[in-house]
């Protein structure tokens, strides 16, 4: 079983977003960075599949030099090696990202053999393009199942579960395949200290693909106007219970 999982370094945004002066990026001076939430679950799934069936898991990211931190995070919980497509920090649109990843997958497969499964987050935590896995699967001629909250591999097939109104829809496709997953698929583990130490010596293959013309061309970012609400304080502590129940009554939910 050979699994590739693709991740993206995204700022850990908490409160109100502030932008850089040119309005082309989030001002991340005071922010930490992390693997996107859906992708954290994809990494956990890749590690579990290989723990169960044997084989190798590989993590790939297209991003700035600092993305190495997130690649190391994935290797710290058990991924064997990393592929880093290093950018100069400028954003890449979904099409050019997918195309560079397809080239990297082809090159790696030519050298180390084919992947059975390519795993992605359903959409990136920041730009939310909803298309990377689909473009890559299409280019490689492999079936793509998106939005999975359940996933298993058996007898050369991928079985996926998608949460829908009224239950879960089931998919069943032959490997090699492509799947994108949603947070909630599993509970990602925390890296251990020995895991972090081991990750430092795991191999990272780097290359610097050229950024093509952007056909989904970001012009600028805009922080939406806040609702500008005026909050009404009903009171402090348990003494506010009566005023709160009055409110529930007024709204008609009591």
């Amino acid at each position: 079983m050979k699994v590739l999982v693709c991740i993206k370094r995204v700022p850990a945004v908490a409160g109100r977003i502030t932008l850089t002066e040119d309005a082309r990026a989030i001002d991340s001076k005071y922010l930490g960075f992390a693997i996107g939430p859906h992708e954290e679950c994809a990494v956990e799934a890749a590690v579990r599949l290989v723990e169960e069936a044997g084989g190798e898991s590989v993590v790939l990211s297209l991003g700035p030099a600092e993305s190495l931190e997130q690649l190391r995070d994935a290797m710290a919980i058990g991924v064997s090696r990393a592929i880093h497509l290093v950018t100069d920090g400028e954003e890449w649109d979904p099409e050019s990202t997918a195309s560079a990843i397809v080239d990297a997958i082809r090159a790696d497969e030519a050298e180390s053999g084919p992947f059975d499964l390519l795993l992605f987050g359903n959409e990136s935590g920041d730009t939310g393009g909803y298309q990377g896995a689909i473009r890559i699967g299409r280019a490689l001629g492999r079936p793509v199942v998106t939005g999975l909250k359940g996933l298993g591999v058996a007898d050369g097939r991928l079985r996926g579960e998608q949460a829908v109104v009224g239950g879960r829809d089931l998919y069943d496709v032959p490997l090699p395949a492509v799947a994108s997953v949603l947070e909630g698929l599993n509970m990602p583990r925390y890296p251990s200290v020995p895991g972090r130490l081991r990750a430092k010596s795991k191999p990272v293959a780097t290359s610097s693909p050229a950024r093509p013309a952007q056909r989904l061309e970001m012009l600028r970012l805009v922080v939406p106007e806040g609702a500008n609400k005026q909050v009404t304080i009903l009171g402090n502590g348990a003494a506010a219970a009566s005023a709160t129940v009055d409110l529930l009554d007024r709204i008609g939910v009591l």
């Binding site: 056909r215 970012l221 909050v231 506010a240 709160t244």
Partner: protein, 320 residues
């Protein structure tokens, strides 16, 4: 003036609301020109689409469409857009709509912009689209012979036009490869309590709950109000509640009449999931927490004292 095609989905004998919002955006982009709607199955609903601005409705009818097959629908979208010479294709920014439209764009080798909240016709077409679940907006130009986009759910209102449309049913060309990815079965959901996505009232606990046991007063108040219980991502990560309870950008999106948040700081990730709430009541120790900027009402203090007091007051008034 570009010919516009709008993908409309339907479920349980009703048109998808987000698709109708897409139709409204399509009408504005067509600027008086023809607006074609593609309806997958459910032919009886086709006649309603004229009232939402479609001038021509194409109903795709094929036995293979009885179960969801995203590549098949993507092919139908792409083939119809090509035969109409459409310059713009709009779909709903639902999970279904985004996966289908991304597949159609990949198939045609075109760029794709998901979850748009505005679009200005022109060459190139310029869209405003959501990032971070709507906490940030991006203006982007779509460079391609055909602009492929979806409309973000429930930002634009669907506007009835009172018009009428010609309806034509056709049998799309599909082959085995278009059906390789398809739904092969369904596990029905166990009959649970109140569904989070559709609840009229949601009571959510955050990190302030302190532990799994700390959710008891949240559940108690929710039960009294017939509300659904929600939680924040911090809670799910701590293992106090299941992910199915999580409200937020990567959890469930909710739109209740009243949203009560207890011990929730109001992080961007969380608030992206409750933009549809009509009224927000925050219960928090910290009067300066980010949630206060988004709340309509607040009670300052410890949720472990306030929630039981509210529940007791409700019982007292109900005389139970």
């Amino acid at each position: 003036m570009a010919t516009v095609l709008v993908l409309v989905t339907a479920a349980d004998a009703a048109l998808d609301r987000v698709s109708l919002q897409g139709l409204t955006l399509g009408v504005s982009l067509a600027a008086g020109g023809p607006v074609h709607a593609l309806l997958i199955g459910d032919a009886p609903l086709a006649s309603e689409l004229g009232g939402w601005g479609a001038t021509h409705v194409h109903v795709a009818d094929h036995p293979a469409l009885a179960t969801f097959a995203p590549d098949a629908i993507a092919r139908i979208v792409d083939d119809l857009a090509t035969s109409l010479g459409a310059g713009v294709v709009v779909g709903p920014g639902t999970e279904t709509g985004n996966t289908v439209m991304a597949r159609a764009a990949a198939r045609a080798g075109l760029p794709f912009a998901a979850n748009c909240v505005a679009a200005a016709a022109g060459d190139p077409l310029v869209v405003t689209r959501q990032r971070w679940g709507g906490s940030l907006l991006e203006q982007a130009a779509i460079h391609g012979d055909r602009a492929m986009l979806t409309v973000a759910p429930h930002v634009l209102a669907a506007v009835p036009t009172g018009g009428s449309a010609t309806v034509e049913t056709f049998t799309p060309t599909l082959d085995e490869s278009d059906l390789a990815v398809r739904v092969v079965g369904r596990i029905p959901a166990p009959v649970a309590g109140v569904s989070l996505a559709e609840a009229k009232v949601v009571v959510t606990g955050g990190r302030g709950a302190g532990s799994a046991q700390g959710f008891a007063p949240v559940v108690e108040l929710a039960d009294l109000l017939g509300a659904a219980v929600g939680c924040s991502r911090a809670v799910t990560i701590s293992g106090w509640r299941p992910h199915t309870d999580q409200v937020g950008q990567t959890g469930t999106k909710i739109a209740p009449e009243l949203y009560i948040l207890a011990g929730v700081s109001g992080a961007t990730q969380h608030m992206a999931g409750c933009k549809g709430a009509k009224a927000i009541l925050a219960i928090n120790k910290d009067a300066d927490a980010p949630v206060m900027a988004l709340a309509d009402y607040a009670v300052i203090g410890d949720m472990h004292e306030i929630l039981p007091a509210i529940s007791a007051e409700i019982r007292r008034r109900r005389g139970s």
